[in-house]
Subunit: 436 residues, 2 copies
């Protein structure tokens, strides 16, 4: 199945893809050297936006869901990549415990968990699933007729176990938005992947994009492009309390500054689109606490519904800090519906991706909303088949470009994780930006 | 396309596959530990025989041809594996020079070279092809409409180059049967893959199978099987001169000894097949210098044609030493034709395989003959998808078993290469067996 993609073929993106193709030898060598300096996360996914004139990451997930949305033809690629990752992170492991999110009812998510545990089993690992929120075992029946067994976690000394299972390694597919549960602290003799500071109780989007900014500048120097082509501008605004209208003015100023920067760039590059920013919780995920803004005045005097929507994210956590990120217009469409690419990585390898396709949304809206309000469309070819003899925008070449940007975000995450290794929970991110 | 495979489902092989499946976690962990101790060859292929009661490697190639016979769906798997291998062997490499065999006319072989160079290019390497036998550039037109450019090699100081290309790494797809050409010696600042001692001027089948014997015993102890189930018996016979009928009696004695051993094992396991051995040049490949023997008397008084056939291998080299290897009956068929599996590995990863399918041959004959006298049939699924919930002989599970045996042979090659690192050319292999 070839997705019928239509992209605004305004010159610049083609030029970007062309440069990536022509310089793939340098790019791959640069990534190899980078991975020797920075350890990539065990797995990750990256939401991209393709504006025709700009191709940029807008979110990087270190606890990726959605493996069920990947093309099943690329299962062997995932298995091989997991084998490499296990070899690096926990070579002695035979038994692995997967700890998923605490969603009760989201069958899409459980299909992801089933796919992940299948990949782990194919890689020769004895995989079981343990839940942070269960007191009794539970069986979840999936739409494809399979079922998942979830078991309660037991703490025994410095180890996490199931009743009859003592894992060598633990793979979190839970982003720890609610904080680090005591049962996961101070483990000994078990490898925990990814590390606890990858969770949202410590992680900040602003630190990630500060690291990405550096990566994007280094990479752009290498391939000879304006880093703005792949780098979304951003600023952070702290001290907010949406419910009590605290910090509105500061937020408006921040939005105004980022919008002014975008306008300058649009003018410089003769881009006629309307600039916008996305305001999102600096610590959080799942498309909660997200707002699209075209003018600074919009964040003043938000109504009660808007303030409620912005004030809490997953697990009911209050939002005090936001990232104000340059909005990147979505110019890809599938059958006239907006399509946004998501790229999946295991270790340093791009193992596939899919488009979020949505008919009911505008180009500048956020497609990653709770409850799967999009249709996934798997990439039909792999992201590691760049072919100079084909058009730069042929699917394998476009997917290669996505894979390059996805890996840049993955490298930013690697640098971000290294910089935050010894960071205590809840530290003010603004103070950290300089060292990210 | 699912190959319609029929295998003699005599219990034992199913039992073997079942054990591999049930113990895949231990097997994968054991491989991970083994690859930390022994570096796998850059790439390799392994010819297997599946006798129903026995599944064993009969030849391991360190300069594999036939990449064109793999399922094109698994190209991304090859690309990913090459990326890992490059990262290990030559992380700094941007430009790679592929040196193929000197065949002029074998288009099947050139399609392999084209596929290999495609894989290298997809992995982001700038790949060119240099020939050991050319004085002028040559273009080869392939059946699929593509063409290959072969260029003459230049020696510049301690480097090999093309006229306008200075490679960082050199990948041999030439097995050096004719000896190590001076142009390849004493290179400096360029990575040569695989190393020169992997070539047939130094390599001996007997050393490989001595190493495999040890690997098979260790592995069989781990999974609890009789090593004979996966290990072909063998002996070496040296001091031969087929043309002058020198050493016939010694060869007959060696054949007799190996046949006697097989007969004992057949009796022990209630196997009613007729034992046979394959006599093959200890240094050599391409199915030349190979003879199937069911009784020791057959090697006495060979006629002129038989003696000529045995006396030389590729590049006209004389055969003085032979491997007398237990013949493993081929019990797999595709549409009533005999089918023999070949497994392909890049670094430590199984990246695919195919069946050699031949209608005109008997079960105990050698299918790897010059000039492609077989039809290739690509494996339709990958070799890394073991699935305990399916039948042990379901294709993914059978391919997993093939992949396990292929990797055991790859590990034997790794140990063999480590043991022969400092070996001068032409050393008597018999003296080396003990240290393999």
């Amino acid at each position: 199945m070839v997705p019928h993609l239509v992209t605004a073929l305004s010159g610049p993106l083609l030029e970007l893809e062309q440069r990536f193709l022509a310089q793939s030898a340098w790019i791959e060598q640069w990534f190899r050297a980078s991975w020797q300096e920075y350890t990539p996360p065990f797995y990750s996914s990256c939401d991209l936006r393709n504006a025709g004139f700009k191709l940029a990451p807008v979110d990087t997930n270190l606890f990726p869901g959605g493996f069920n949305n990947l093309n099943p033809d690329f299962l062997p690629l995932c298995v091989q990549a997991i084998m490499g990752a296990v070899e690096k992170f926990c070579p002695e492991a035979c038994r692995i415990l997967l700890i998923p999110e605490n969603h009760d009812r989201n069958l899409f998510y459980w299909q992801n968990v089933a796919r992940l545990s299948l990949i782990l089993r194919h890689a020769g690992l004895n995989a079981r699933i343990g839940s942070l929120s269960l007191a009794e075992p539970v069986t979840i029946n999936l739409p494809d007729g399979q079922s998942l067994s979830l078991e309660p976690l037991l703490r025994r000394g410095n180890r996490i176990e199931l009743a009859d299972f003592s894992p060598c390694a633990i793979l979190l597919n839970n982003d720890l938005s609610a904080g680090i549960p005591p049962i996961l602290r101070d483990l000994n003799g078990q490898t925990l992947l990814p590390p606890l500071h990858a969770g949202w109780s410590i992680r900040r989007k602003s630190r990630h994009f500060a690291a990405y900014d550096k990566v994007a500048h280094e990479f752009s120097g290498l391939v000879g492009i304006d880093p703005w082509r792949i780098n979304p501008a951003f600023a952070v605004c702290g001290g907010l309390d949406f419910r009590n209208r605290q910090g509105e003015e500061e937020l408006a100023d921040t939005v105004s500054g980022v919008l002014a920067g975008i306008r300058d760039k649009y003018r410089e590059h003769d881009i006629t689109e309307t600039p916008y920013v996305v305001v999102k919780a600096d610590a959080g995920t799942y498309g909660m606490g997200v707002m699209t803004v075209k003018d600074a005045s919009e964040v003043i005097g938000l109504n009660r519904r808007q303030r409620n929507r912005m004030s809490i994210v997953k697990e009911g956590l209050a939002v005090n800090e936001v990232l104000v990120q340059e909005g990147v217009h979505t110019h890809e469409t599938v059958r006239e519906a907006i399509a946004e690419p998501v790229v999946y990585m295991i270790d340093r390898y791009v193992v596939g991706g899919f488009y979020r396709v949505h008919t009911a949304r505008e180009r500048d809206e956020n497609l990653n909303s709770p409850g799967m309000e999009f249709e996934p469309l798997a990439f039909d070819t792999a992201c590691n088949l760049p072919d100079c003899s084909d058009n730069p925008d042929a699917p394998p070449n476009r997917f290669y470009a996505y894979g390059v940007i996805g890996r840049l975000a993955c490298l930013a995450a690697a640098r971000e994780l290294k910089a935050t290794e010894s960071l205590p929970e809840g530290q003010n991110p603004s103070a950290m930006l300089a060292s990210a």
